[in-house]
């Protein structure tokens, strides 16, 4: 099946700055795809190149097999939902939504009819005559959606569309968007810097930093098996402990402790041990600890934070500080600042990522 969007070796340079550095990406038809990364990582630029608002400096850009890299945006079968909605302030809701249809030559009556269908779909019936300035943020966002979708684009692009909404509204919209995409079956390409958003909504996610594509995969892929330090650190919360490879099943931490860990890197390579706080266990040094040979590290508790559903401990182990998440227990059963503690983890709870600090 032809992929909806294919980028091959796409690079974008603005004078001296390389905004997008040689990325290869494939987005399947009907997929909810997210591009995730910190500000300035190139995700928006990539989106704009798919839309046609920027031209790549180099590379191949295909939409359903057609090379479109140099086509003007008004010739591509894609539509965009802009970050601040970019609704036309001088037009009412209906004229905003029917704009694309009118530009393609559809007569006024038919365009209005289709626009109204979509206004119903996004649950804004009754608001047709209002101007954007008379709408709330959430309502404006729905108009932007309707305006794009009414043209039945092959791919829908969304540039941080939920950023301006407050938390509750954002969560509602996330569910709605997901449902909408599933019903329509159209590929959605979604740009965000909020990893939680990306993880909840998307089928697959591409993580970018400084113009480079770091990893593409499902939420689980990225969370459980990050390909490098950045992804491990960016997605969720993790402890990264520097280490060196000893052999394919052992690594050595900075203080010499040998730790079990599977890796394909050559001996002597600098790597990092990634341990999610929730996969680590903690206990008082005096308590009994499973004696199955799991690596144990000893340290002192430096901070105790109550999170409601859990307790977060910060433990200082001679060369590093780790965060360990433990189930919530009554205050008396918790460790206190200054206590000596033993930290360990199950075998295979760890993950090795390449790359030095």
């Amino acid at each position: 099946m032809t992929p909806a969007v294919e980028l091959g070796g796409v690079t974008k340079r603005f004078d001296e700055v390389v905004a997008v550095d040689n990325i290869d990406l494939t987005i399947a038809d009907g997929e909810f795809f997210a591009m995730l990364g910190p500000s300035g990582c190139g995700k928006t630029t990539t989106l704009r190149m798919i839309a046609g608002l920027e031209f790549p400096t180099q590379g191949s850009l295909r939409i359903f097999g057609d090379e479109v890299g140099t086509l003007a945006p008004n010739k591509r079968p894609v539509n965009t939902v802009f970050q601040n909605y970019a609704l036309f302030p001088h037009l009412n809701v209906r004229d905003n939504v029917s704009f694309g249809l009118r530009m393609q030559g559809l007569n006024k009556a038919e365009a209005a009819r289709r626009a109204e269908e979509l206004i119903d779909l996004v649950q804004l019936s009754g608001m047709e005559k209002r101007k954007p300035s008379q709408l709330s943020g959430g309502q404006q966002q729905r108009v932007a959606l309707a305006r794009a979708l009414v043209n039945e684009p092959k791919v829908l692009l969304l540039d941080e569309p939920l950023g301006a909404l407050d938390l509750k509204l954002r969560q509602e919209m996330q569910t709605e968007l997901k449902g909408l995409q599933r019903n329509l079956g159209v590929s959605f390409v979604f740009v965000t810097h909020d990893q939680e958003e990306a993880l909840t909504m998307s089928d697959r996610i591409a993580v970018m930093d400084e113009g480079r594509l770091l990893q593409v995969g499902t939420a689980e892929d990225l969370y459980e098996r990050p390909a490098n330090r950045f992804v491990a650190d960016f997605i969720g919360h993790t402890n990264l402990i520097d280490a060196t490879v000893v052999d394919s099943s052992t690594i050595a931490l900075a203080n010499g402790t040998r730790v079990a860990g599977t890796t394909s890197e050559a001996a002597g390579t600098a790597v990092a041990l990634s341990l999610r706080p929730e996969s680590m266990k903690i206990g008082r040094s005096t308590d009994a600890v499973p004696g199955d040979g799991a690596t144990r590290l000893s340290g002192t508790v430096t901070e105790v934070t109550y999170l409601g559903l859990a307790i977060m401990y910060k433990v200082a182990i001679d060369f590093i500080e780790v965060d360990v998440r433990a189930d919530a227990v009554p205050p008396d059963d918790r460790l206190a600042v200054g206590d000596t503690a033993t930290v360990w983890w199950e075998h295979d709870a760890e993950w090795i990522v390449p790359g030095a600090q």
């Binding site: 608002l53 008004n74 302030p89 530009m103 043209n151």
Partner: protein, 273 residues
């Protein structure tokens, strides 16, 4: 940039002093105009002295051929120079706000000069320019020279107003239009143009007013039979003042106010953001 919070009012005596100052400023602004209107109905050859109530001066104005001729001249010149200035000024504004090109900085600077230059200097400039041209080409000073001079300073004023409007409107809107299948011309016609229209109208009003207002420049480049109303009235004032001038002034005042009201009304009716 910090989001402007409303500056809270100071307390105590400062507050009252400020209020007083503002009222005084308004009185200062409007009293002369009110007094002028009142005295235009005064039946006394001495302009500042009140005689009985009369409409004579207005009758004189209606019958005065030279004045009416000057008024027609002013209007014709203002209309033509405004139209040309609006087109050139809007194009210039669009070029500067939405494009980069070679020589942009020079153009930008050149566009500001007519705004800050004093009338007298510009009048001298145009006079000498036309005097020099007259040595090589045959032409008579009059409508052409006045219109050319007015356009020269009006372009800048129009472009400043339109630029302000353009700068405030989001470039993303034009991108959104293109994303929605509009060609460049369609994007301009259906999105950019409606959004800058208040700016264009404001610029047009400004150009029209400045053209009608102008004294020195017109005086220097005018030719026989082409005196404009302000030049004419200015001449009258220096020769010897009669209350007729009061009547003429009030008529000019009413006309300007109507013009402003009209433009505000048009803007309101279009109900843009």
């Amino acid at each position: 940039m910090a989001t402007p919070g409303n500056i809270t009012e100071p307390k105590g005596i400062t507050r009252h002093l400020l209020r007083l100052n503002s009222w005084l400023v308004f009185v200062f602004f409007y009293a002369p105009i009110v007094i002028l209107v009142i005295f235009s109905f005064s039946d006394n050859r001495n302009v500042g002295v009140w005689g009985g109530l009369t409409f004579d001066w207005y009758r004189d104005f209606a019958d005065n051929e030279p004045i009416k001729g000057a008024l027609t001249n002013s209007l014709q010149i203002a209309v033509v120079s405004t139209l040309v200035a609006v087109v050139l000024g809007t194009l210039a504004a669009l070029a500067l706000e939405r494009f980069t090109f070679r020589g942009r900085k020079v153009f930008d600077a050149l566009l500001y000069l007519p705004i800050i230059i004093p009338d007298v200097t510009m009048a001298v400039m145009m006079l000498l320019f036309f005097a020099q041209l007259a040595q090589w080409f045959e032409f008579t000073k009059g409508f052409g020279t006045i219109v050319i001079s007015h356009i020269a300073f009006n372009i800048s004023f129009v472009s400043v107003v339109v630029r302000a409007r353009l700068a405030g409107s989001d470039e993303r809107l034009e991108e959104a239009a293109m994303d929605l299948y509009a060609s460049r011309w369609q994007a301009f016609r259906y999105v950019t143009l409606p959004l800058i229209m208040p700016g264009i109208l404001g610029g047009a009003l400004l150009a029209f007013t400045l053209s009608l207002d102008d004294v020195v420049i017109t005086q220097f480049v005018t030719g026989p039979g082409w005196d404009t109303l302000p030049v004419f009235v200015f001449g009258l004032i220096r020769k010897g003042v009669t209350p007729l001038i009061n009547a003429v002034s009030v008529v000019m005042l009413v006309a300007s106010t109507l013009l402003v009201a009209l433009s505000l009304f048009i803007q309101r009716a279009r109900s843009t953001d």
